[in-house]
């Protein structure tokens, strides 16, 4: 039994999963009706549905981030790409039909990713610095597009993407699931996963084995850019506006956190898409919980920080060893 427990607690997914369950339990006891789901006009409503709906932009970005981190990189420009693509889609909607706007946003995301990828893969600029450029400049570009104002969107079809319902569930959930499944299938059915993990673990050996690291780096930053664009469309359609300053602000930090909580190491190598899913759900549930149990606004960041630190500590094998040793000593002393 204890062997069994040890194996489970060492699994990458155990602690974030346990934390998520614990968080839901806390909600169950403190917030009446947290698990309650009602049906209005054939649509499902409730806190759980709300969490699943809100997590989607974060999840989509975190999936792209997982691939970037797997190859030992980082992309801190995702929030800015989100803002640019949201602004691009919103402004084009004023003059062109919906498919063009969506396509335009995705292409902009692709170009942003390409830019990052070229800087990193071919000009060998460190990922943090290279993406910092777009992070800083990006919001400026977004402001240029919106003309410094918050663009309101008046297109029912576009708003459906972020606000509509399909078969009872919010439409955004389907998009999130689709992105997750596509990337999962690509990982399982092509050599992308193998090559990424190989490059992230040892770039020189991978190069010697015929893998072209530059190409792979370019691909992952492009994927990350497109994921950010999808998130940009979701966010802007959900609030029916494009806000160059605040759309997706700090989302890069939550995304990185979701990836790391999900068990993917910042040093690259093995990556866990399922872990990222749990990580993103955990962060969103945490934010929702903090608001709904009525923690004062000035305290929210502190509470969030404490919980995240706790989860990260529990994930660390070294920390668990420390705890085991001290509890063991206690037992010896008591005996």
């Amino acid at each position: 039994m204890s062997q069994f427990m040890i194996r489970y607690t060492q699994s990458k997914l155990f602690w974030p999963f346990a934390a998520l369950v614990l968080l839901l339990l806390i909600n169950f006891f403190t917030i009446p009706g947290f698990f309650h789901i009602t049906i209005k006009n054939g649509h499902l409503f409730g806190s759980l549905i709300d969490i699943m709906n809100r997590v989607i932009p974060l999840l989509v970005i975190a999936i792209g981030m997982t691939l970037v981190i797997a190859k030992e990189g980082i992309d801190i420009s995702v929030g800015s790409i989100l803002a640019i693509t949201a602004a691009a889609a919103a402004s084009l909607l004023e003059v062109a039909p919906l498919p063009y706007a969506i396509l335009f946003a995705l292409v902009i995301g692709l170009i942003c990713g390409l830019w990052n990828g070229i800087l990193i893969a071919y000009l060998k600029i460190q990922p943090m610095i290279a993406t910092l450029i777009l992070m800083t400049v990006g919001r400026g570009i977004a402001q240029l597009i919106t003309g410094g104002q918050i663009l309101t969107i008046n297109n029912k079809a576009y708003e459906y993407i972020g606000k509509g319902f399909l078969l009872g569930f919010p439409f955004a959930i389907y998009i999130g699931l689709a992105v997750f499944c596509i990337v999962l299938i690509v990982k399982k059915k092509t050599a992308l996963g193998l090559f990424l993990e190989s490059i992230g673990s040892n770039k020189t050996s991978s190069h010697f084995a015929g893998i072209r690291p530059e190409k792979m780096i370019l691909i992952v930053y492009i994927i990350s850019g497109i994921c950010s664009a999808i998130a940009g469309i979701l966010v802007s359609s959900n609030v029916s506006s494009a806000d160059a300053n605040n759309a997706g602000l700090w989302i890069e930090l939550d995304a990185i956190l979701a990836v790391v909580i999900g068990g993917t190491s910042m040093r690259g190598g093995r990556f866990y898409l399922g872990g990222t899913l749990i990580g993103a759900l955990f962060i969103q549930t945490l934010s929702t919980t903090i608001y709904s149990i009525g923690i004062r606004p000035e305290m929210t960041m502190v509470v969030k920080a404490i919980v995240v630190i706790a989860v990260c500590l529990m994930q660390s094998g070294e920390f668990r060893k420390l705890i085991r040793q001290s509890s063991f000593k206690k037992k010896v002393n008591e005996a």
Binding site: K189, T190, A191, L192, L194, F195, E197, S198, G200, S201, N202, T204, S205, S206, H207, F208, A209, G210, I211, R212, G269, R270
Partner: protein
């Protein structure tokens, strides 16, 4: 217990899940002796050393240091007790200076601040007195050769050790004169009463330097012997556990099955500052050797052929097709394979499993979208684990958990899986035990018999002489000569290298 015993281990046992790495092993080190620990990969040498230095916890047994019972729980504790270790791979900070590396964590202080002058002075004195080398200790470690880096690690270990020094494969990256220098240092330390445990795969070195030899096999103690009373054949027999006949080593291949057609032809291929023009050709089924001393341009030539380094000049022709700009992926597509010299940084992908490591080259040959189904992957991995006798409980084991020889076999499998027409092997037998060494050599000959061309690079000239149909000799990054057929011998290669000085100069003019 003997009064001059320094470090004694009694009845040491250590098991890992599924393996008994050491069972009831005794070991004793006396003051003022050099004691070699011998055995094949996986015999338990590293485990024993890790137990002695506190990195691994023993399951059973006692360790005595100068007749008092010790049980070091960590490497730091062992160091405090006076047991210092230098590992095969240099564990130093390349971006710090030599002096900083030696005194890191115990810097001389003055008024609470680091006394840099004193530190540099002490480092210089230490290196000069104990190791007899004079270098600028203020320069960063990365600016020095591997040999100097190794010496720095030894200097640090000697300085912190009070009695026991463990050298785990210290010579594998050193050339002949550097090895001699190290041996002088070891003799010097020995005369001061220090006990040295020496681990090496080089039999000659073991016989040259050690006073006694302890042999392990499959985690068992085979025995402890006086070096002067042991012959090479006896030692090897004890290590591999069967009768050993030396001539097997010099088994020659028969040149009969070499095709007349060239597989690869190179004219004047060069990279300025790295390698001067190379002219060579390899026939199908031929084993071509590249011989020369460390830094003679062997690896550089191989990297040019495989497209890891871009050439500035010259032509490369593979099967009558001229290749304009070579890169590893193209090389693989053209049927080349390359087992690099530096296994740890250029060969293995440590975090991945054995199976995944084997798939990399074949997968990049087939392309990213043509994923090899898991079933096929497992079949390939199973095949090569069996064929090359790779010792592992499972193909899903991380490759970094394997011993050096087995890692090398996985890398070889990676290339064999691509069905190569030309396999470039850069020091395939370095750091590999004698049993695996023979297996790898036999593999080379078998492959050649099947029509695969081999470019074989090795610092061990006996090996080059034994395996190759033709040998190209390099010196100071120039190609200086060639030996063929009966003329290939260690003596002739050495002669060519020493005569080569004149050739190099004439090329300069």
């Amino acid at each position: 217990m003997n009064s001059d015993s320094l470090l004694v281990a009694k009845g040491i046992s250590k098991g890992f899940p599924g393996v008994k790495a050491l069972s009831n092993v005794d070991f004793s080190l006396r003051k003022g002796e050099i004691h070699s620990l011998m055995g094949e990969n996986g015999a338990g040498k590293s485990t024993l050393i890790k137990v002695l230095t506190g990195i691994l916890k023993k399951d059973q047994g006692q360790i005595y240091l100068e007749n008092s019972l010790i049980s070091p729980a960590s490497a730091e504790e062992a160091k405090r007790l006076g047991i210092s270790t230098v590992y095969q791979e240099v564990n130093l900070c390349e971006n710090l200076s030599v002096a900083e590396n030696i005194y890191i964590g115990r810097e001389p202080k003055k008024n609470g601040r680091i006394d840099w002058k004193e530190m540099y002075r002490k480092a210089e004195v230490l290196l000069k007195e104990k190791l007899n080398i004079e270098i600028d200790v203020k320069r960063t470690l990365s600016s020095y050769s591997t040999a100097i880096q190794q010496m720095t690690a030894i200097a640090k270990a000697v300085d912190t050790s009070s009695g026991v020094l463990i050298l785990d494969e210290p010579t594998s990256s050193l050339d002949k004169s550097e090895v001699q220098k190290l041996f002088e240092v070891m003799k010097n330390l020995k005369s001061r009463g220090m006990g040295i445990i020496f681990v090496s795969h080089f039999l000659d070195q073991v016989f040259e330097i050690s006073d006694r030899i302890t042999v392990l096999r499959n985690g068992q103690l085979i025995g402890e012997y006086q070096t002067s009373l042991l012959t090479r054949n006896e030692l090897v027999s004890k290590m591999i556990g069967k009768e050993w006949i030396e001539p097997l080593l010099s088994q020659k291949k028969h040149a009969a099955n070499i095709s007349k057609k060239n597989f690869l032809m190179v004219k004047g291929l060069e990279k300025k500052g790295s390698m001067n023009p190379v002219h060579l050709s390899i026939k199908k089924g031929e084993v071509l050797g590249l011989a020369g001393l460390l830094g003679s341009g062997r690896t550089e030539t191989a990297k040019l052929l495989f497209g890891i380094d871009a050439s500035d000049n010259g032509t490369l022709v593979i099967e009558n097709e001229k290749i304009h700009s070579m890169n590893p992926k193209l090389a693989i597509e053209k049927g080349l394979g390359f087992c690099p010299e530096d296994r740890k940084t250029e060969g293995i992908v440590g975090e991945l499993t054995i199976r995944e490591n084997m798939m990399l080259a074949l997968q990049s040959k087939r392309g990213i979208f043509n994923y090899i189904p898991l079933k096929e992957q497992k079949k390939i991995a199973e095949k090569y684990i069996k064929l090359l006798n790779i010792k592992t409980p499972d193909m899903e084991e991380k490759i970094e958990n394997l011993s050096g020889g087995n890692q090398q076999k996985v890398i070889l499998s990676r290339w064999l899986a691509t069905n190569p027409s030309l396999l470039i092997m850069d020091e395939p037998t370095r750091g590999v035990d004698i049993g695996s060494k023979l297996e790898i050599r036999k593999l080379i000959l078998d492959l050649a018999a099947e029509g695969v061309s081999i470019l074989f690079i090795s610092a061990e000239l006996e090996e080059v002489a034994a395996c190759c149909d033709r040998v190209i000799v390099l010196r100071d990054r120039y190609q200086i000569g060639q030996l063929e057929g009966e003329k290939i011998s260690v003596k002739n290669i050495l002669e060519l290298i020493s005569e080569g000085a004149g050739v190099v100069e004439s090329v300069h003019d």
